[in-house]
């Protein structure tokens, strides 16, 4: 049994589907990559697992526990149903007084459906309080932009001890000592002084290290890193990747790595899931994926990257069009409008994910393979 098993995760914001049935598993001590370009649903997947999306309802139509309590029903009868029945018009006039659940039904919040089983417990059906107890302790997250993830008016020491107090019950000097140890662990020199500093006094790389220190403060079993090095310079990126590699190896933390950078994936991940338009289009162990990329999107991504290890005159083979050229999965392959190998079969219906170890979602690849 995997540490985290995501099954058929679906997230929709009103009429817009961000994640459209994503399943994958993260084993203990493994690094699993979610790869894709902007808008593919990789970040939303991670936020859903962490329970950080503004919820409004579950798949069975019941309101989420935290919104249920605040639901203010001052709408005229039938108003909600009317809006529900025409989801394509998100701007249907909403009574301004409805600030709770009913108001959220309109355009705010996400519909999260599916399961994310962590250590035998479905995180998606946990009540908010129970999720809060786990978040930061059993599973933690590192975001792309460390400056906006840290509180600008609180010294970083306090931001670390806060986690230690809440989840490990450490207080006072003990907490400060542990925080200093954590900063040292993530490679920040002179930690005692840094604890008193504010986020703006640190460089981008240092801030990212602080975030990682906070994330690993309670030795979580799963760390989710959402583009942790994208905002950093390449030499600093190398430092942070080295740190993550080291954490995984020494602590046995499982890492869910969300990135657009196939180079980062190649160097860090054990398993890879390639996402396109809210679905996994290919998944495989890392060497297998790079040795035998099968889905045309994966092949296209690999052909788009200028590489230092290939001859200079190697031409780039970009994917044509943009992510806006898309069809709905239920009508066919969402990648079909941009695919070079598109045939009528591709738009004749929903393509299934086939294969076990190396799975892909392409009807043409079946015939090729």
């Amino acid at each position: 049994m995997a540490l985290l098993e995501v099954e058929d995760l679906r997230v929709a914001f009103g009429p817009a589907t961000a994640v459209d049935g994503v399943s994958f598993a993260v084993d203990e001590g493994k690094v699993v990559g979610l790869v894709g370009e902007s808008g593919c649903g990789k970040s939303v997947t991670s936020l859903a697992i962490m329970g950080l999306l503004p919820k409004r309802s579950r798949g069975n139509g019941r309101l989420a526990p935290d919104t249920e309590a605040r639901a203010v029903t001052v709408e005229p009868a039938g108003g909600a149903e009317a809006a529900e029945s025409s989801p394509a018009v998100p701007s249907a006039p909403a009574p301004r007084t409805a600030i709770g659940g009913e108001g959220r039904r309109r355009g705010r919040g996400a519909d999260v459906d599916g399961r994310a089983v962590f250590d035998g417990v479905d995180l998606l059906s946990l009540p908010s309080a129970a999720m809060r107890r786990r978040r930061g302790r059993d599973l933690a997250m590192v975001f792309q932009d460390p400056l906006s993830s840290l509180n600008p008016v609180v010294p970083i020491g306090r931001q670390i001890t806060e986690v230690l107090e809440r989840h490990r019950g450490l207080k006072g000097d003990k907490a400060v000592k542990e925080a200093s140890h954590l900063l040292d662990r993530v490679g920040i020199p002179d930690p005692a002084r840094r604890l008193r500093e504010y986020p703006h006094q640190l460089s981008g790389g240092m801030r990212q290290r602080v975030l990682i220190a906070i994330a690993v403060a309670c030795a979580p079993r799963l760390l989710i890193a959402d583009e942790p090095t994208t905002a950093l310079d390449v030499t600093i990126q190398a430092q942070i990747l080295e740190l993550l590699r080291d954490l995984v190896e020494s602590e046995g933390t499982a890492l869910l790595m969300i990135t657009h950078d196939l180079g980062v994936v190649a160097g860090l991940c054990d398993e890879v899931n390639v996402l396109y338009s809210g679905r996994v289009v290919e998944s495989a162990p890392v060497r297998e994926l790079f040795a035998r990329p099968t889905h045309p999107y994966t092949i296209g991504l690999l052909g788009s990257i200028p590489r230092l290890d290939l001859p200079m005159d190697e031409p780039l083979r970009p994917i044509r069009g943009s992510i806006q050229d898309v069809i709905r999965w239920r009508d066919g392959c969402a990648f079909a409008p941009r695919c070079d190998r598109v045939t009528e079969k591709c738009v004749a219906g929903e393509p299934a994910l086939v294969g076990a170890v190396h799975a892909h979602r392409c009807v043409m690849a079946e015939e090729v393979a």
Binding site: Q239, A266, F290, L301, L302, I305, M312, S322
Partner: protein, 351 residues
């Protein structure tokens, strides 16, 4: 792109594209020549009486030249001064010292109206296409504006040129009535490029032209820049932090660290045999999309962060992070020497 090169000064005068594997023979005069360019920003303190307490040496004596039709790639990490350098070349930033010559004219000596007119020869493509396009102007207005400013053509001629340019960057004529927010990131960057092309400049400074774009779109835009260079006989100064992007676009590459060039060579040489420790570290830091390569790749992990450009380290500026630094590095600033033909480096050692 299928369009015929109709640009004034286009295909006819276009020099043969210099490929990187040929030795750089400076037989023809360079189009762009920069000599000892410096841009220092004063640091001011005080409320009533401002006094200057120091300078941020953003660009601190950079010289380079670019052959007509060539591409010079300037790489470095954030804060190294590469963007300031690009802006100073175009006189968008006032250089503190040094000279910039474009096609024999001294850009740094131009003032007022003459400078304004001269700007039609040099254009810029910015990183963030949305931020560089006026949201209230439709494409027609955006593309016609540079022409109006420089008093080029009638309304009909301007529109004709706009349509031609759109075609060259791979956008249909029908986009003329649309506004920037209606486009995807890649299309917006195409617009940004089209706008820079409208005056058919000699030099285009591309500041991080693809770093805001998705991988698949990056490749489209890089291929487009390649095609346009051939079609319009353009000379590029490409400023980027991504070594692979610079390698793909450039035939000559300069590596900048804390306001100075630390190494400059033909693209093939610098990537095959980097001579400066910083270049080596940069190259070794780029993760390659191949697990086999990644498993065996030697990584040079640099310690620490970039020092402050207001107070750079003595001697060699890179010594505080350099794994090979010795005593001499702190005392003597390494000279800018030619380590091999056409390969210059600022390091005391032959690594």
């Amino acid at each position: 792109m299928s369009t015929e090169p109709e640009a004034p000064g286009g295909a006819a005068s276009r020099p043969p594209l210099q490929r990187a594997d040929e030795p750089a023979v400076p037989a023809k005069a360079p189009l762009l020549e920069v000599e000892d360019l410096e841009v220092h920003f004063p640091i001011r303190r005080g409320i009533l009486v401002e006094r200057t307490v120091g300078h941020v040496r953003a660009v601190d004596g950079v010289s380079l030249s670019v052959q007509p039709g060539g591409t010079f790639g300037l790489v470095g990490e954030s804060g190294c001064g590469k963007t300031t350098f690009g802006r100073a070349v175009l006189r968008l930033e006032e250089p503190t010292a040094g000279r910039v010559r474009l096609g024999g004219d001294e850009v740094t000596a131009l003032r007022g109206e003459r400078l304004r007119r001269f700007r039609s020869k040099m254009q810029m493509v910015f990183q963030d296409p949305l931020g560089s396009l006026n949201p209230r102007h439709n494409v027609d207005m955006l593309l016609a504006e540079p022409l109006k400013v420089h008093g080029v053509g009638s309304r009909e001629e301007r529109r004709k040129l706009a349509v031609e340019t759109l075609d060259a960057v791979g956008l249909p004529k029908s986009v003329l009535e649309r506004y920037p927010h209606e486009f995807s990131g890649g299309q917006r960057q195409r617009l940004g490029i089209a706008r820079a092309l409208m005056l058919r400049p000699d030099l285009i400074v591309c500041d991080e032209p693809v770093s805001a774009l998705d991988v698949s779109i990056q490749a489209q835009v890089m291929n487009l820049l390649d095609e346009l260079q051939d079609e319009f006989g353009l000379t590029y100064l490409v400023i980027a932090h991504d070594l692979a992007v610079v390698r793909h676009l450039s035939d000559r590459v300069g590596v900048m660290y804390l306001g100075k060039l630390v190494e400059e060579a033909d693209s093939s040489q610098i990537y095959e045999r980097p001579r400066h420790p910083y270049t080596k570290a940069l190259l070794s830091a780029v993760p390659q999309p191949d697990p086999e390569v990644e498993a065996t790749r030697e990584r040079i992990i640099l310690k620490g962060d970039l020092p402050s450009p207001a107070n750079p380290p003595s001697g060699c500026r890179f010594r505080t992070r350099c794994p090979w630094a010795e005593d001499i590095c702190a005392e003597v600033e390494p000279e800018w020497r030619e380590a091999a033909t056409g390969h210059r480096v600022a390091c005391h050692f032959d690594l």
